[in-house]
């Protein structure tokens, strides 16, 4: 195939670009992925690796549930090691108010027909997490959740896509997009590409690419922060979160503990840089030690952050362009898009090859904010 003139051009080599490339290549479509840096350089390579179904927005649950099924056998499907481990995820309730939040959520989930979240009491919480602080009163668990290794997972999609003939070109930043007749003409600094179909998976830069295609979108970007400890004795098998506190951590098999918590640093996307906000990051450390006193003596080894794309409602954009034919978007995953990688690529492949998806994608339309009257 001519790598400069594939059937489909994908912009962005994160997990979504790679997964879409895989699903398209698998059904015989010729794809080229353009990545301005290198595959997995950004959010998809540096995220917390959380594979979480628990606590998803109702609109995301159907996609996330299928993604969760796919994760369980992903290593076989991609013939690779994504590092996925099914560990269950527990969100801890610190007080009765948290429990009430959980009961309300259960009500909502049951009404919608979902049964995958189970409330547990204090005793069961302690059985599952013996080192939890005594003040914690209960929690909610999702059994199939776990974690994977982000860099390996994204690379796994890339390799599998390549085996099916997809082409990845790194160091190619898309600077200009024009539609000439039936074809998209896409230019990087040194190369010109043409394709009938275009997929925007440009992560924290996707609003820029959208504009080049002709769609406006209220995307923002930010730099969520993480830290990891040196190895500690094993003390927690499940992945841990909290109902109302910014706490999130997982202990890997090598004993290191990855701590998140949702606080954000400073993002400078034009220079591919982020800066940490230590005072905010420290809150994650504080909460981890408060909920799990055993962690007080842990040593933090590294801290970092990655550039992530956020939509105002924290839901992604998944679907076709509204202002141009033969262009699609998948971005704006708002700090929980890693888990969705396996399924969204499939959705994009379906949309691009058949024009349809088995999922209801209304909530993810790119113009969902434009139609709102202010």
């Amino acid at each position: 195939m001519n790598r400069l003139k594939p059937d489909v051009l994908i912009i962005g080599g994160g997990i979504h670009g790679c997964s879409a490339a895989y699903h398209l290549a698998k059904v015989g479509v010729q794809v080229t992925v353009l990545e301005k840096d290198w595959v997995s350089r950004h959010a998809s390579g540096v995220n917390a690796g959380g594979v979480r179904l628990l606590g998803r927005d109702l609109a995301e649950v159907p996609l996330s549930k299928v993604a969760m099924k796919l994760w369980q056998n992903l290593d076989d499907e991609l013939d690779a090691d994504t590092g996925f481990r099914k560990r269950s995820l527990i969100n801890i309730a610190a007080d009765e108010q948290d429990m009430n939040t959980l009961y309300a959520r259960r009500e909502k989930m049951h009404t919608a027909g979902y049964q995958h979240e189970t409330i547990i009491d204090q005793q069961e919480l302690r059985e599952r997490l013996p080192h939890v602080s005594p003040f914690c009163v209960g929690g909610v668990v999702s059994e199939d959740d776990g974690y994977a290794i982000p860099y390996q997972s994204t690379k796994a999609f890339r390799r599998a896509a390549e085996r099916h003939g997809a082409v990845f070109m790194e160091g190619e930043c898309v600077e200009q997009i024009r539609k000439v007749g039936t074809h998209w003409h896409v230019a990087t600094r040194t190369k010109a590409f043409q394709a009938e179909k275009l997929l925007n998976c440009a992560g924290a830069w996707a609003d820029k690419v959208s504009v080049m295609i002709g769609d406006n979108v209220p995307l923002t970007h930010s730099a969520p922060m993480l830290m990891i400890t040196a190895r500690m004795p094993h003390f927690a098998t499940p992945v841990v979160g909290a109902v109302s506190r910014p706490l999130s951590f997982k202990q890997f098999e090598n004993g290191t503990v990855l701590i998140g918590g949702g606080s954000k640093g400073f993002a400078d996307r034009d220079n591919n840089r982020t800066r940490l906000d230590y005072k905010k990051l420290a809150i994650g450390a504080y909460n981890a030690a408060e909920f799990f006193p055993i962690m007080k003596k842990a040593s933090i080894n590294r801290m970092w952050s990655g550039l992530e794309a956020y939509m105002p409602d924290n839901l992604p954009v998944i679907g076709r362009s509204v202002n141009a034919d033969n262009a699609w978007h998948a971005f704006g995953f708002s700090a929980h898009g890693f888990q969705m990688g396996p399924v969204v690529g499939r959705v994009m492949s379906d949309l691009i090859t058949t024009g349809q998806s088995t999922f209801d994608l209304q909530a993810f339309r790119i113009d969902r904010f434009e139609r709102k009257v202010l």
Binding site: W38, V39, S40, G45, N47, A48, G50, V51, R52, G55, Y151, Q152, K155, P224, L226, T229, A230, G241, A242, V243, S244, R245, P246, S248, G260, G261, G262, S263, K264, R273, R275, L276, Y278, K279, K280, L281, A282, I283, A285, Y286, N287, A288, A289, E290, M295, K296, K297, A298, S299, I300, N301, R302, M303, W304, N314, S334, A335, H336, F338, Q339
Partner: protein
């Protein structure tokens, strides 16, 4: 305790001490932070309170530091010891940990002079217990008065001869010196010799150390190659070629050394521009003649800028201070230049001598760029050459991609031990210049940080989950 200064100096070695003296005595408010319990840096460690009965045996280069230390102690700069800097922000905030608490201070000018560390010596078995660097042997000696009997010293460079001599003067038995300086080095460095002539005093010192070692009857194996340390749980013996023969020496203690390289963790973490120094085979922060880095208000001095030695460190520290004083409006440019003139003349002489030394003790390719597949490159994560090669073949062409693929450089040392090796190894595999390959992207903290300490650093207001979710 004030938290805002004209100048914050990180590192109280000869560079930091002399900078602090010059700056504080000319009207700048100065704070000096060092993670050690006292000033002196690598060379003048414990010079005025040695655990040894007669520290003179450590040599006059050591004891002469006493004067600088006294001057420093008497200068008006604030001194914070046991203060380990773990972050310098883009805006000039310095975060450091002291007695289990994180503190913060700000400064208009920052001077980074964290010195040097020993170059990694990646040969088969170098990761085994019982193998240490000659510099660590010296640290144990200077700080605690501890020595190891019957050790084998391996490598090249002035420091290794010095440490052996220091051992011998204390009556400690040294089993052997396996010298890796190739015989050809003496010939190849000759063209640089004229530059060294004005410093013949230093040269004689070097030679006399070597003679001291021979006279003491320590077996010396010269021009050694193909080193391998053997042992299961612990170093048991070392094998090598020398004089056309294969040798094997039994030993529990091997001390390695092949020169020093700038300590990069801080200069990298604050994202200064760096360049590859082909003469010294190391990365160093880009800087001008006043030590000013690529970031306007950050300067570098001493061995952190490229190896300049203790006397060079003292001079560069002063030069930086003069320029910072001018930038702060506390000294005219004319006065700065007049004062700098004689310093630069001396520094020029030292640099010519340095060229000769760099050439003579240039570590061989085979000891920097490991070829044996089983050699461990990253000691924290125990990653071998073979494992890195797999990562490279999977597309890990730069140090950061390779790190993502193999975990090489992810351990607590932040790549301090493997960074130079990985840059050079990748350059060889890519058949490109090291400068093209680059180095790890580093982040604070520069050291392991206690979770409880860090947690207390936040100004906690109970925050609700609205802060956003990361799954």
């Amino acid at each position: 305790m004030s938290t805002s200064f004209d100048i914050a100096i990180i590192g109280a070695g000869p560079a930091g001490m002399s900078a602090a003296i010059t700056a504080s005595e000319n009207g700048a408010s100065v704070v000096v932070l060092d993670e050690k319990a006292a000033c002196g840096g690598q060379i003048y460690r414990n010079v005025n309170n040695s655990p040894l009965e007669n520290p003179e045996i450590l040599g006059s280069d050591y004891t002469k530091g006493g004067q600088l230390v006294n001057e420093f102690n008497n200068c008006p700069a604030e001194k914070y010891y046991n203060a380990s800097v773990w972050h310098v922000s883009d805006s000039g905030e310095v975060l450091f940990s002291r007695e289990g608490e994180t503190h913060s201070l700000t400064a208009r000018e920052v001077l980074i002079c964290c010195g040097a560390m020993e170059r990694p010596f990646p040969i088969p078995g170098w990761h085994l217990p019982g193998v240490m660097s000659a510099g660590s042997a010296q640290v144990m000696l200077k700080a605690e008065g501890i020595v190891k009997e019957d050790a084998v010293f391996v490598g090249t460079g002035p420091l290794i001869y010095l440490v052996i001599a220091q051992y011998l003067r204390l009556g400690v038995k040294v089993k052997a010196l396996i010298d890796t300086t190739p015989n050809t080095a003496y010939i190849e460095s000759m063209p640089k010799f004229p530059g060294a002539i004005p410093k013949t005093g230093m040269l004689f010192k070097g030679l006399s150390l070597f003679n001291e070692i021979r006279k003491a009857g320590v077996p010396v194996y010269r021009s050694a190659k193909e080193l391998a340390i053997k042992g299961n749980e612990q170093a048991e013996s070392i094998e090598f070629f020398s004089g056309g023969k294969k040798h094997s020496l039994e030993t529990d203690h091997v001390f390695l050394h092949q020169g020093v390289v700038p300590h990069l963790n801080l200069t990298r973490a604050v994202s200064l521009d760096h360049e590859w120094d082909k003469q010294q085979l190391c990365w160093r922060p880009v800087h001008d003649k006043w030590g000013k880095s690529s970031v306007d208000w950050i300067s570098v001095a001493g061995d952190n800028t490229g190896i300049v030695g203790a006397d060079g460190a003292e001079l560069t520290g002063k030069l930086v201070a003069l320029h910072q004083l001018t930038r702060l409006g506390k000294m005219t440019e004319t006065e700065r230049d007049v004062r700098a003139e004689p310093l630069n003349v001396t520094l020029h002489g030292l640099n010519r001598f340095r060229k000769f030394i760099d050439s003579l003790y240039r570590p061989l390719d085979e000891f920097r760029i490991p070829q044996d597949e089983t050699t461990v490159v990253c000691r924290c994560e125990e990653k071998t050459v073979a494992e890195l090669r797999v990562g490279f073949d999977q597309g890990g062409r730069g140090p950061n991609e390779l790190k993502g693929l193999t975990r090489c450089g992810m351990g607590p040392c932040q790549g301090r031990q493997c960074g130079h090796t990985v840059s050079e190894l990748l350059a060889e595999w890519r058949e490109e210049e090291v400068a093209e390959v680059g180095y790890y992207r580093l982040r604070s903290p520069l050291r392991l940080l206690n979770l409880q300490e860090f947690g207390q650093f936040s100004e906690i207001e109970p925050v609700n989950a609205a802060a956003g979710d990361i799954a």
